[in-house]
Symmetry: C2
Subunit: 139 residues, 2 copies
Amino acid sequence: MMYSIIETLKKNQLSITDSRKKILELFVKAKGALAHADIEHQSGTEFDRVTIYRTLQTFVEKGIIHTIPTSDNSVRYALCKDACTEGHHHDNHVHFMCDVCGTTYCLDNITTPDVKLPEGFRSTQTDLVVSGVCAKCAN
Amino acid sequence: MMYSIIETLKKNQLSITDSRKKILELFVKAKGALAHADIEHQSGTEFDRVTIYRTLQTFVEKGIIHTIPTSDNSVRYALCKDACTEGHHHDNHVHFMCDVCGTTYCLDNITTPDVKLPEGFRSTQTDLVVSGVCAKCAN
DNA sequence: GTAACTGCAAAATATTTGCATCCTT
DNA sequence: AAGGATGCAAATATTTTGCAGTTAC
């Protein structure tokens, strides 16, 4: 269930490069979601902005990470569960955005409810985005 | 329950201007959500880009419209229900994004389920974003 | 008349593309 | 060695800000 950084890259037929190793590592370490800017800051000046854009895009295409819909419309990414394969995301889990500290949590253990859609509508993905105050900021 | 364009603006202590009337009218007419670009196109060259940005921002602040979190992280807006007041959105309803035609529907009659959050987490808003194929594109 | 709103210009920010060079396999 | 990945430059897109002129009330 738990793959190492390098195994994950190999599994997805990606060549092992410094930027991919480092960026993927950031995601594994980060408990929450990361925005492009987070990665840029946390990796120092090590990589070019463009490389980060391209790496993120590659990871999304390979199903390693996925974008999170947020109510403030900032682009954030988080690791996918292993069920995600290329071109097919199955991330029907719950995301929580803290209004105070801005951290985005992936609440993997909570499942999204089935929604009864109107006649003729077919659902391929369900995202539940909850915002509020997280445990850390609740004081 | 149903306010006219002008009544809505007055109710929110906004002066009645051409751009506000026109943009609010677009939202009332549109059954779904609108992006900045939609408004720009549908209003012709009548208004400046900047005016549209500022008008949308004002409407969001006043609780007339709200932003919709979308899985492709494009910024979209939709009319709020009357329960929304300044600074306090209560739009816990379901949005549906069609992957084919791109239309965003507000499924007002479907309520979002209560989510059991981890200890210490408090929720102020819940957004359920479903994507898939809508009835029109299902053929 | 006054405060608020708009349009224009420009700045700031975010994202994409082309191409030469370098690295992984 | 070959194909892919990166860095740099630059093009494009998006959003914000300042300010002067205009409009609503």
